[in-house]
């Protein structure tokens, strides 16, 4: 069984105090508790500080392009649907550049786990507003304040009947670890939006700001009730609910692809069919 240290990756380039450290720790702990070994799963990521995540975890890694982690993860799952595939993305990465892929990953219900580091700011490009930034956010390129409304990822995913929608907080590692485990154990596409303070550029949504507002969904909360889930998903501001907001048991995409029913595609790689067999239909 792998130990926490076995997942130790490269030295991080994140700022001291960054919310990403909490996510990293929770993730490694979750892997230990799920009894996964480093070679047994793959992390796919995009660009941004979240994109660097897989370098800090010892595991298989495909760190691709801005916004494109989900299609890569989808192709990888279809090639080998017995291997857990985790996508790590940022709010700009996934809700901005990669919005179309997110919509369709949810529609497909591909069994990929998406963890979004949602810090409501573009950190790597030094402080522009992101899709989840609050209206009125002032930055160098929005000196009069952001005009657009904030994108609500959990309401959006619930509206699309995403099969697992959760919100975690980088400041509560234990709770986040449990959410990660629940997402991994869920059969179907899972979105975990993780509130993550950016200590350098986001001076509004700080640890204290989140601490004042975040609360845990009560034990009797029914995550299968989509209407109620939508109500909670819309709650953002004075109070912010954490936990599994919505769950639906839909069949995963991989389970409905006949070509991989018996075994993963990658195990079917052998001598391809002979030409003659394929030519018969052309005579």
């Amino acid at each position: 069984m792998a130990k926490f240290e076995d997942f130790e990756g490269r030295t991080s380039a994140w700022c001291p105090g960054c919310g990403n450290f909490g996510i990293l720790k929770s993730f490694k702990q979750a892997m230990v508790e799920l009894e996964l070994e480093p070679h047994q799963f793959t992390i796919v990521s995009g660009i941004g500080q979240s994109g660097k995540f897989p370098h800090y975890v010892r595991c298989n890694t495909f760190n691709g392009l801005h916004g494109r982690s989900l299609p890569v993860a989808t192709g990888l799952r279809l090639a080998n649907h017995r291997m857990p595939v985790f996508a790590f993305a940022g709010d700009g990465d996934c809700y901005g550049e990669g919005g179309n892929h997110l919509t369709h990953a949810i529609r497909r219900n591909i069994n990929v786990k998406l963890f979004v580091h949602d810090n409501q700011i573009y950190g790597l490009t030094k402080g522009q507003p992101s899709p989840t930034s609050m209206e009125g956010t002032v930055s160098k390129i929005q000196p009069m304040g952001l005009i657009s409304e904030s994108f609500n990822p959990v309401a959006y995913a619930t509206a699309l009947d995403c099969s697992f929608v959760a919100r975690g907080y980088a400041g509560d590692g234990d709770h986040l670890k449990e959410l990660i485990k629940k997402a991994v154990n869920h059969q179907g596409f899972s979105l975990v939006d993780i509130l993550q303070p950016c200590v350098t550029f986001n001076k509004v949504n700080t640890y204290d700001w989140y601490k004042e507002r975040c609360y845990y969904l009560e034990p009797e909360y029914d995550s299968h009730n989509r209407i109620k889930a939508f109500e909670r998903a819309l709650e953002y501001g004075e109070r912010i609910p954490l936990g599994v907001l919505y769950k639906s048991e839909r069949p995963c995409y991989e389970d409905r692809v006949p070509a991989i029913e018996a075994m993963p595609l990658v195990k079917q790689v052998s001598a391809p069919p002979v030409l003659k067999e394929l030519m018969e239909e052309f005579f």
Partner: protein, 594 residues
């Protein structure tokens, strides 16, 4: 009566049939049935089609040639014109060969065409009478064409049974009765139709460019095909989807072309052969993914079926204008291979070679076609299994586990690092779109950057170049005129050379493996060109992209160029006319209309 004798020596049968109609009238189905029937009867067939960018209406045509010798292009004179709509006669009647015949349904269109070349056949009335459905007009017309050619109905009946059996006996009978009615009508009324239908040989394969790419992919072990539908590449997607169950292939319609290429890269990283396809605008979206394939050294095959652009251009027409785009697409510097097949046969073998090279060198490989080739069908006696290459270059299972250490991007003499399969064994497979070290982790230091560029680019390039086959030379060895082309113009250029060979010392150089540019080591084409009085570069584009590439790669400058850029393919006649201009004037033309 028809005395059209092919210029091919000793060939007596060479008919061109054109089927014209509106979109939605089933011209394509009718043409495909006839072409399949002729190829089963053992004739050589060539088909091409032109259609408008709309679902119904407009005017489309499907043209085919049948001959007792190999044919690889359309000829302009039409022997049989089948007019299923009003537009067909005014648009195409002038193309009728001496002795050619146009059939149309004057009763349905309430039009009448006078003259020995026109015969009205009541397609619709016969369909209603014998098939109880006006939709059978097509099959009446198909029967009539066979009647005109003196070919009996047995092969058509077999196709009807084969394709319509699942719709029930009544449908099969209705179709057969309708075909018989058309056949009998033509035999009875078309007294001038004494076309000679010489017996054919053994049944042949009839295959289009798109289908041949699909076959090439499946036979290469492609396991994952993903695309967003875009004309004229969609046919490949259709073919691959048809093989999902029978050959365990995952075919995914992506949300967009960006998703398509990234999915293909994910699957390839996961350990299976993967491919995507599109046309220019869709490929434009794939370009960042192309660079990602290069940086992560992930094999991928990309079919780029060209159509006229920029932007949406002429969505259903043809052009060879994305060569330099395919060559230069992507940010940064990295190796790739580009193949531009000239026939369905080359589509098949070069797709196979593209998979092999993509995997062997862990690079992107292109198959560059266009609408004309994608939708054209050619006949062949057989294909050769021995020419199919399949080597699984990946490190899998126990072999992977057995490696002492593993670094995905380790420096090697060849620049190629064994590609491990994630999940097989305890080694980790790590790659990155950022510059990375040997293990695949991102770095920024200058020395690693230099070594990685050398690994990816400089070490692989000479090895890639060694694998490239020389251009195909066809015709006179001591040619005074050498015509040079690439991709889909092969057939029409070959036919032009055949026609001119009697009166001119002429040769064709056809390039189907375009990048890395073929060296002169295997075939000294530069000497051939330099010795010739006239070297003419023929391209289906406005600016002469291949001529530019040739200049860049070899220093050779074409003084004469023939460029067609009206969205239509060259026909043998249009090319001959242009060549005559060049030879007469001794200098090039660059006209679009001809």
């Amino acid at each position: 009566m028809n005395t059209l004798i092919s210029p091919h020596k000793g060939v007596f049968l060479d008919y061109s049939i054109k089927l014209g109609g509106e979109g939605g009238q089933g011209i394509d189905t009718m043409g495909s049935v006839l072409a399949q029937l002729f190829s089963r009867a053992g004739y050589h067939v060539f088909t091409h089609q032109e259609y408008e960018s709309r679902v119904r209406g407009g005017h489309n045509f499907f043209q085919m040639r049948l001959s007792d010798a190999p044919v690889c292009a359309s000829r302009a004179p039409i022997d049989i014109l089948v007019a299923m709509d009003r537009a067909s006669i005014p648009v195409h009647a002038a193309e009728l060969a001496p002795g050619g015949m146009a059939i149309y349904d004057g009763r349905a269109t309430k039009e009448s065409h006078e003259g020995a070349q026109f015969l009205s056949i009541p397609f619709v009335d016969l369909a209603l009478e014998h098939g109880k459905n006006r939709i059978m007009a097509n099959i009446v017309a198909t029967g009539a064409v066979l009647g005109m050619l003196g070919i009996d109905l047995q092969l058509l009946f077999a196709i009807i049974r084969q394709t319509l059996a699942k719709k029930g006996e009544a449908t099969v009978t209705a179709n057969m009765d309708s075909a018989r009615a058309g056949h009998e009508y033509a035999v009875r009324e078309c007294l001038k139709c004494a076309f000679i239908a010489a017996p054919g040989g053994p049944g042949k394969i009839l295959i289009s460019g798109n289908d041949a790419i699909g076959v090439g992919a499946v036979v290469s072990g492609c396991k994952f095909y993903t695309a967003y539908p875009m004309t004229p590449a969609t046919g490949i997607l259709n073919y691959m989807a048809g093989k999902e169950l029978s050959h365990s292939i995952v075919v995914e319609q992506a949300e967009d072309e960006i998703g398509a290429i990234n999915m293909a890269l994910g699957a390839s990283f996961g350990g299976v052969r993967a491919m995507t396809g599109s046309s220019g605008g869709g490929f434009a979206l794939m370009v960042e993914g192309l660079s990602l394939a290069a940086m992560t050294e992930t094999p991928v095959v990309i079919a780029l079926a060209q159509r006229p652009a920029p932007a949406t251009g002429l969505p259903t027409r043809t052009e060879q204008a994305d060569l330099l785009f395919a060559l230069h697409a992507g940010h940064g510097e990295f190796p790739r291979v580009i193949f531009a097949p000239g026939s369905p046969e080359q589509c098949l073998y070069l797709t196979n070679k593209a998979f092999d090279m993509a995997e062997k060198y862990q690079i992107p490989a292109f198959i560059l076609t266009d609408q004309y080739l994608a939708d054209s069908a050619w006949t062949y006696d057989s294909f050769d299994q021995d020419r199919i290459v399949f080597n699984d270059y990946r490190v899998r299972g126990e072999a992977f586990q057995g490696l002492g250490e593993y670094k995905r991007h380790a420096y090697t003499e060849s620049g190629v690092t064994p590609q491990g399969t994630p999940g097989d064994g305890t080694h980790l497979v790590v790659t990155d779109s950022d510059e990375h070290d040997e293990e695949g982790h991102l770095v920024e230091d200058a020395l690693t950057r230099v070594r990685m560029v050398e690994k990816r680019l400089f070490r692989k390039l000479p090895l890639l170049a060694e694998e490239i086959s020389p251009p195909l030379m066809y015709g006179e060895g001591e040619a005074e005129t050498v015509i040079v082309g690439w991709g889909s113009t092969y057939g029409v250029m070959k036919e032009a050379v055949d026609i001119l060979a009697g009166s001119h010392k002429i040769a064709l150089l056809h390039f189907s493996e375009i990048y890395p540019f073929p060296s002169v080591k295997k075939l000294d084409y530069l000497t051939l060109l330099e010795k010739a009085t006239r070297a003419v570069c023929v391209e289906n584009n406005a600016t002469g992209q291949f001529a530019s590439l040739m200049r860049r790669e070899t220093g050779f400058l074409f003084r004469d160029r023939i460029n067609r850029y009206d969205g239509r393919p060259f026909t043998v006649e249009s090319l001959l006319a242009e060549l005559k201009n060049v030879m007469d004037a001794g200098k090039g033309t660059k006209r679009g209309e001809n």
